[in-house]
């Protein structure tokens, strides 16, 4: 099955990090990404820029509406995502538990819905 692992954390934690801590976290993420791509578990995904770069689009009454910022103000913000191939939820949980920012925030696991053909 395919699962998306959504990585959330409080961006303030990142802003409060020292340069070295931030570099170390990135290194860890790169290493983890290589591992799970190598093992065939990770089939896509990216880290995201902070939410102050986000824009939100809606179509209302046929009109495009644009607003600054993420679609919802939340305590933890979406920071990246992985598209994982796992045999079941247990394997997805194990993979998600290895994502380095799981220590800082939370990983939401969502099974992918195949759209009807």
């Amino acid at each position: 099955m395919k699962y998306v692992c959504l990585v959330y954390y409080d961006e303030q934690i990142i802003r409060d990090m020292s340069e070295q801590q931030w570099l170390d976290l990135n290194k860890e993420c790169i290493a983890f990404g290589e591992q799970v791509r190598g093992s065939g578990h990770c089939i896509g995904g990216n880290a995201l820029q902070m939410t102050d770069t986000a824009s939100t689009v809606r179509i209302r009454a046929g009109q495009l509406q644009l607003s600054d910022g993420p679609f919802a103000e939340t305590k933890e913000q979406l920071a990246g995502f992985y598209l994982m191939e796992a045999k079941d939820l247990n394997e997805a949980i194990q993979l998600a538990g290895r994502i380095p920012p799981a220590r800082l925030g939370s990983i939401e696991i969502r099974p992918v819905r195949e759209l009807p053909k």
């Binding site: 796992a86 247990n90 997805a92 696991i109």
Partner: protein, 419 residues
């Protein structure tokens, strides 16, 4: 085939036999069908159809030598039929394990497989990715075979709400890919903990809830104990024995916990002759067994404490020294302010109320909102003849509890003070 019966009396005998088989085997058959079919709802329908077929065929054809294998096989074919009828067969064929549906019949009845299926069912129903209420409901429905109505009554919610909860949980099992498997060795301790937690919640729902139907509550305690026995049979582990012992020892005191008027009777004043000594003996053997394990878990330690109370002929015989030691170990295994409070109460029994109070006063920040904290302090003040402080604490406890019997108990204590 044997026992071919003729006439209505024979049919009635077979029917009674089928009912017995249903009681003893239906959960085993269901567990295997879920594995073979990969779908809870489909498996439940197949189970009902299999028993329907048994009711039709067995009175004339006789009861098969291996009823369980017959039922699994009948259920599986009924399910395939149904899938074909719904024309979902082709679509689903890929998803279902090849050998589970194709002609070369798998060995449904090899003993380890069947037992593993029941364990798989337990681990799936108690999967931590399900909400805890859903774990409870699924466990009682699928493993214990309580009806939706019975479970709803036990939890004081409407059967419709409960049914929806179960449907949502089954959908999540299917859609999120929660596997039907016994966890790997590496995850086993953590997953087992969550199974034990669910079983103890079922027990406590029956043991501690002060509202609701008494019969249903006793039923929950019995089911939890039965689950404990089943789990111990399937997965011998010290902490499983510990939990089972704890439930047996607590339940043994059931008849004496409330007076005929429904008032709480404290351990000190319970009529120990009315305790269930058969259950106590079972509990004591299990505690002893569990205490020899390398890593002693928190259920085992709680059971060991309950065992100390169970072994004391009268309240005055209680070995408080040993109980304090056991609370020390429990605090190491699973630290919590409530355990600290219980240890303080045991220290008060060992060294006198003053020593207990000193410990309890240190817990003010953590337990200010817990009514039993204030009630325990009040008790110690009362024993020290500090009636004014006792009154203040009883009143704080009263303000924090909504349970009728607790309130009546505290009122009674208040009225006994000289202030």
């Amino acid at each position: 085939m044997r026992d071919t019966q003729n006439g209505t009396q024979g049919a009635a005998v077979v029917q009674a036999h089928i009912q017995t088989i249903y009681r003893q085997q239906s959960r085993r058959v269901l567990a295997t069908l879920i594995r073979l079919l990969g779908d809870f709802t489909l498996a439940e329908e197949a189970l009902q159809e299999a028993f329907g077929a048994a009711l039709q065929q067995w009175p004339t054809e006789g009861i098969p030598d291996n009823p369980r294998a017959w039922l699994v096989s009948a259920g599986r074919f009924k399910a395939i039929d149904q899938l074909r009828r719904q024309q979902r067969f082709n679509q689903l064929q890929d998803e279902l394990a090849e050998d589970s549906l194709t002609a070369h019949a798998p060995d449904y009845d090899s003993q380890p497989d069947i037992e593993d299926d029941r364990l798989r069912l337990i681990f799936t129903c108690c999967h931590p990715a399900l909400a805890i209420e859903a774990q409870l409901a699924l466990t009682l429905r699928e493993i214990c075979d309580l009806t939706t109505e019975e479970i709803a009554r036990a939890f004081l919610i409407s059967p419709v709400t409960l049914a929806q909860r179960i449907v949502r949980a089954k959908n999540k099992i299917r859609d999120a890919g929660i596997p039907y498997e016994i966890p790997e060795q590496q995850q086993l301790p953590q997953r087992l903990e969550s199974v034990l937690h669910v079983i103890y919640l079922v027990f406590n729902e029956g043991y501690s809830a002060t509202v609701g139907d008494d019969l249903i509550r006793q039923e929950l305690c019995n089911e939890a104990i039965r689950l404990g026995h089943l789990l111990r049979e399937l997965l011998p582990d010290a902490e499983v024995s510990g939990l089972l012992a704890l439930m047996l020892l607590q339940d043994a005191r059931r008849a004496t916990r409330y007076s005929e008027q429904g008032e709480i009777v404290q351990l000190e004043f319970q009529d120990r002759r009315q305790w269930d000594f058969h259950q106590i003996r079972q509990g004591l053997v299990l505690v002893q067994e569990a205490m020899t394990s390398k890593e002693i878990g928190s259920f085992t330690l709680q059971a060991a404490i309950a065992a100390q109370h169970a072994m004391a002929r009268q309240f005055a015989d209680t070995d408080w020294k040993r109980i304090v030691q056991l609370y020390e170990l429990l605090l190491q295994a699973s630290p919590s302010p409530v355990v600290e409070l219980n240890r303080a109460a045991a220290i008060a029994m060992r060294d006198g109320p003053q020593a207990g109070l000193k410990q309890m006063q240190g817990l003010q920040d953590k337990l200010a909102g817990y009514h039993l904290y204030h009630a325990a302090m009040a008790d110690l003040y009362r024993r020290l003849n500090c009636h004014e402080q006792a009154r203040i604490c009883y009143q704080q406890a009263l303000a924090l509890t909504k349970q009728g019997p607790e309130q009546r108990f505290l009122h009674k204590r208040l009225s006994e003070l000289n202030v």
